[in-house]
Amino acid sequence: MKLQSWIVIFAIIVIPIVLVMSLYIQVQVSYVNAQGNYDTILNNATYDAIKAFQINELNSTTQNIAEEKIRDVEASVNTFYNSLATNFGRSGYAEDDLKGFIPALVYTLYDGYYIYTEYNNVVTGESLNEDNILTPQINLDSSQSATGLKPYVYYSARYQNGAKDVVINYTLDNYITVFYKGAGDDNYHTYSGYLIDTTKVQERSDGIYYDGIKIDTEALSEVNRTTADDGSNRKLNYAYVTNDSGRREKAYWDGRWYKYNIDGTQNFNDANVRAQLGTTYKQDDSAQRYLREAVTFTNNMQSILGDIYLRNIVGVNQEDLGITGDIGNQKLINFGSSGMLDTFNNHKLQVIRNSITTNLKATIAKFNQNTTYAAKMPTLTENEWSLILSNTCLISFMQGQHIGNGYYMGYSIVTNNKNREFVDPKLIYVLDQDSMGYHDVRHIDASLSNNVIGYRNIDFETQSFVSSDSTTKNYYRHMNNEGTFAATADYACIVTSTSITTSNGSSSSDNALGNRITELDDILDRAPDKIKKAYYTALFRERYNSFKSLSLNIS
């Protein structure tokens, strides 16, 4: 054969191979690209959803009533779908088109969580009953699917020791609700309150002390809607009062006390304000009340929870909670000894984590009944769990889109740092009222005057309200005395976070990975007393005044 023919044969063999290989690799590259794009879209949609949730929650004057929470979550879900649809370039389709790819959206909140997903709708219709009242028809075997919020799940666990039957509802902080039935009781007794390490609290002749720091009353002050509206930006002193429904509200002192009605009008004649604050100015004592009530509650709980061991937990697989061998013999709370809440805190996180995992698995399994592509429950890493357990957040899952030669599978976790319900101990800022700068509490070498006070991070956000001339106005709560500028964030700690003290992790590899364990208490031990005092007082005040959906004391 001639040389030319060899070349032709060679070309015929090699060119198709090269073309196919090139095509295949291009498909792979576009697959990886698409995956990256989808990850970004999902991340952005989740972030948008959290932002929507924050805006709705922070600017609501009547927030935290149960239905409002549902409304806020549903609005956030809509934002999620809209953001997703817009980013996919198919904004006309929105929710219905996309929900087949979203197995679950999990909103973890202060004392429980919502899952937005597909569920069996057992309400098949409505009919008039014999009294001519419209009642739902319920068919428990219905396989009709609907997408929406499943009922709220509380972070709860049940313990049985002998005749004792206890259900504890946990929250992200140390607030608990206990349902208790002892031997001979017919009904459950219910108690709600803050558990506190009682060894750290001392009642002395000159006041109450926490960890050696005296907790005083505070002269709280801020710009409110009225002074922002008239343009003076004057700071008014305020204190908290308990209203008829048991919630804590702000009352402002401007020569006389007033509070705001739900519609935003001023109320100078509220009976609760008069009864609790009188007619003269007095400083806010929420922090002191918190400590005293928490100590009383904790001591009351000793007879109920004092003999509950971790092994007494029922209704769950104990190994899932890490309760094996000797660990089961640990007491849930070691009343009276220092570090009495250590076991409790670890156990609480395990309970929350287990509850979310179990429910999520069931949700995704249900979702798979109606899809061609089987969704899978991803394994979340320890770092991700520590995010989820340290604040309220949104976990979103997106699966099943056909991209290139595979299916997309991804999830995203975004924490909600600005919410009114949960007081994150790390998001209390220390405000220097002389220089009007605020600092992270872990910035322990900040140069501060002695005129410091702690407020939550959300207090430094812009507030907006609809003024009497129906325009939307914005203002900041913490302004200088002349009302010309707002308190500014410190550059060393809040803007760049370079001067925030972190403690050492348990190993040097932890440190290298950035996993230093930030034990706030250890850092505070090194902080000057004025920071500690401002911090603890603010933390206790804010916790005492945050709304609790489960606040029950029925014995």
């Binding site: 040389l3 030319q4 060899w6 070349i7 060679f10 070309a11 090269v18 290989m21 090139s22 690799i25 291009q26 590259v29 990886v32 995956q35 990256g36 990850d39 970004t40 991340n43 952005n44 989740t46 972030y47 922002a228 930006n233 770092n383 995010l387 340290s390 604040n391 976790i413 975004v414 740092n417 790390k426 992270d440 872990r442 907006s464 325009t471 939307t472 106005k473 914005n474 203002y475 900041y476 009302g483 010309t484 500028f485 707002a486 308190a487 500014t488 964030a489 550059y491 809040i494 803007v495 760049t496 976070s497 370079t498 925030i500 972190t502 440190n511 290298a512 990975l513 950035g514 930030t518």
Partner: protein, 177 residues
């Protein structure tokens, strides 16, 4: 005479088709695979920063090691835009319709690397929610594919890169938690 010319042309053609063409093709595929790998690593690196709020030296080293394992050398540019809400707060709030003017100031690779090498600061660059991070990577060496293409086509300049990836986004969590 005519036969000899044809034979010479045939030999040259044969050399090009049988050696250079496969070599170029394989080199091209090798670049594609590198591109795939670099793109993947960059996306992962950035997503990790966005979801943890931290750039750690360990993560950075792993990332550099991953992309260098493709056999090329790369230039890594990290850009961090730090959100600063203060300028909006310092002005008198007489204009009520204004919510506040946020400003971003930018730190580039050298500043970020200084933070990563600072053991006192935990070898970590901490970011906060709202900051923006972007990473872009491009190769600095000449790959075999570039070499061959430069030789035969003379279309690509000597300094242009063939492997490059970039990714970025808003940080969704405070790193100091």
């Amino acid at each position: 005479m005519g036969d000899t010319v044809v034979t010479i042309i045939a030999i040259v053609l044969a050399a090009v088709l049988m050696f250079i063409f496969p070599l170029m093709s394989v080199a091209d595929r090798s670049d594609d695979v590198s591109q795939l790998s670099v793109q993947n690593s960059t996306t992962q690196f950035v997503d990790n920063i966005r979801s943890t709020g931290r750039i750690t030296l360990a993560d950075y080293n792993r990332f550099v090691q991953e992309i260098n394992s493709t056999g090329n050398t790369y230039d890594v540019d990290i850009e961090v835009k730090v959100l600063d809400e203060n300028p909006g707060k310092k002005t008198a709030e007489t204009a009520y319709e204004k919510i506040g003017e946020n400003v971003y100031y930018t730190e580039y690779t050298t500043q970020v690397m200084d933070d990563l090498r600072d053991t006192a600061n935990n070898n970590t660059k901490y970011l906060k929610e709202g900051d923006i991070v972007s990473v872009s990577v491009k190769n600095t060496n000449t790959t075999i594919s570039q070499l061959l293409r430069n030789f035969f086509y003379r279309v690509t300049g000597n300094d242009s890169s063939t492997i490059g990836a970039s990714n970025g986004g808003i940080v969704t969590v405070n790193g100091r938690n």
